[in-house]
């Protein structure tokens, strides 16, 4: 007859995936029963919790289990850096554009299409995210998290300031809020005292910085240099700079350890999914024709801004899981001994 305690343990073990149960259930029941006190009728609370936790993690796979491993945490700091750079660049571009109009026409707001305003909000957003970028580069993780929270509050204040005159402001700026919150989460996940550059390596870091700088310079040149000369009649100078920047970025990434590089790509897919979600959202609600913000629009906004990045993560993690499992099984057949 099976003891009631064993039945209860077997019920708990049902949380494990079938492959794991097949491999370990009998053995685990043996260990659990051997560890039980005489006359014990129920699993101890701590034991039950540990089984449920380990079983759920086994079900979610090694990818979810390892979300806090150093490879993920290193990748998170790199992705957070990209998030902060994107937010600083988006606000910075508007600031530079506004300043240009100010210098040329003495009217900072012509560029933004609103009269009489100032550039305070774009300036504040630029400075706030640049501060986050500096903190990440200095590997000051706690300061970076705190500054990123402040930067998100600045984004909220900037939305609130324009809300009375632009009803769709909050909807149009959803991406900034979403990307800001994502950056905060990535920074919280990243490792303390390990700069993004330690992950990228000196040469990889130099290549990626060079690539980003080149991309920024060519993007800034575009409005000033609409008809840049062609190289051999094939490619304009600014396009050539962008292509070189892309090649440098890819070459820099190639120098990162494989496991970390794959995780960086998964997290970057999540980061870039945010502006894509904004684009999809604006098309879905027909923002240029919509008259007012309805509760339905708010629901669609929240669902899309959360759903699209989550979907990107799920897809990326699934591809990663498949690739690394294939790798593991190959290396096991190479190094495994015939006695297993």
């Amino acid at each position: 007859m099976t003891a009631p305690l064993e039945i209860q343990y077997r019920r708990l073990l049902a949380i494990y995936p079938p492959a794991h149960r097949h491999a370990y259930e009998e053995e685990m029941v043996g260990v659990l029963m051997e560890g039980a006190a005489p006359g014990q009728r129920r699993p101890a609370l701590g034991e039950a919790f540990d089984l449920l936790r380990a079983g759920l993690l086994a079900r979610l796979g090694r990818g979810a289990q390892g979300l806090r491993t150093s490879a993920w945490r290193d990748a998170a700091s790199v992705a957070a850096l990209v998030g902060a750079v994107l937010l600083a660049a988006a606000a910075g571009r508007r600031l530079i554009g506004g300043l240009r109009y100010f210098l040329e026409y003495d009217d900072p707001m012509r560029f933004l299409g609103v009269e009489g305003g100032l550039l305070i909000d774009v300036a504040a957003r630029t400075v706030a995210w640049l501060a986050v970028v500096v903190a990440v580069l200095l590997a000051a993780r706690r300061t970076a998290v705190a500054l990123a929270v402040v930067a998100v509050l600045v984004e909220i204040a900037a939305i609130a300031a324009w809300q009375p005159s632009q009803e769709f402001r909050a909807i149009r700026m959803s991406w900034a809020l979403g990307l800001g919150l994502l950056t905060v989460a990535l920074l919280a996940l990243s490792r303390r005292g390990r700069p993004a550059f330690a992950t990228l390596g000196r040469r990889g870091g130099a290549m990626i910085t060079g690539g980003l700088a080149l991309a920024a310079v060519s993007a800034l040149l575009l409005p000033w240099w609409p008809t840049s000369p062609q190289i051999l009649g094939l490619l304009t100078v600014t396009d050539a700079m962008l292509v070189t920047a892309g090649a440098l970025l890819l070459a820099g990434l190639q120098r990162v350890p494989t496991g970390t590089r794959r995780r960086i790509l998964v997290l970057l897919a999540v980061v870039f999914a945010v502006p894509i979600a904004q684009n999809l959202l604006e098309r879905a609600i027909g923002i240029n024709l919509a008259r007012s913000v309805t509760p339905g629009i708010v629901v669609v906004d929240v669902l899309m801004m959360a759903g699209v990045p989550l979907l990107a993560f799920a897809l990326g993690a699934a591809v990663l899981h498949l690739r690394e499992n294939v790798n593991v099984s190959i290396s096991v057949t190479r190094t495994g001994s015939p006695s297993v």
Binding site: L57, G259, E324, V328, S339
Partner: protein, 118 residues
């Protein structure tokens, strides 16, 4: 073996399970008891945590099954350290020893300078 595995510090349960198996093949329950004994009862691994570690270590090729026995109609599987596991454990203990030596050296220097608060 995964490339990320060799350069990252090992988690304590993993380190203790490998240390338990370093003295020879053991079955799951014996590993639990050995870990508790080695740490004077400070670390008491539970079955869920133990088998998560064993499964991962097997997949990574650090341990393998030595033999199976049936005792009082219960399955007992003995695990042993592989060559890769031995190397990894040696690398991890040398890393820990280096850190401990560093800390002790600095504490001694601090004491010699009279920097320690009364």
């Amino acid at each position: 073996m995964l490339p990320s595995m060799t350069d990252t510090p090992m988690r304590e349960p993993t380190f203790l399970v490998l240390t338990a198996l370093a003295s020879g093949p053991q079955h799951g329950y014996a590993v639990l008891e050995d870990v508790a004994r080695m740490t004077d009862g400070r670390v008491r691994l539970r079955a869920g945590t133990l088998y998560a570690a064993l499964d991962r270590l097997r997949t990574d090729g650090l341990i393998e099954v030595d033999r199976e026995e049936v005792v009082q109609s219960r399955l007992r599987r003995y695990y042993r350290l592989t060559g890769v596991g031995e190397k990894r454990l040696a690398a991890e203990s040398s890393r820990l020893r280096q850190q401990a030596t560093l800390a002790e050296g600095r504490l001694r220097a601090r004491h010699d300078l009279g920097g320690a608060p009364a």
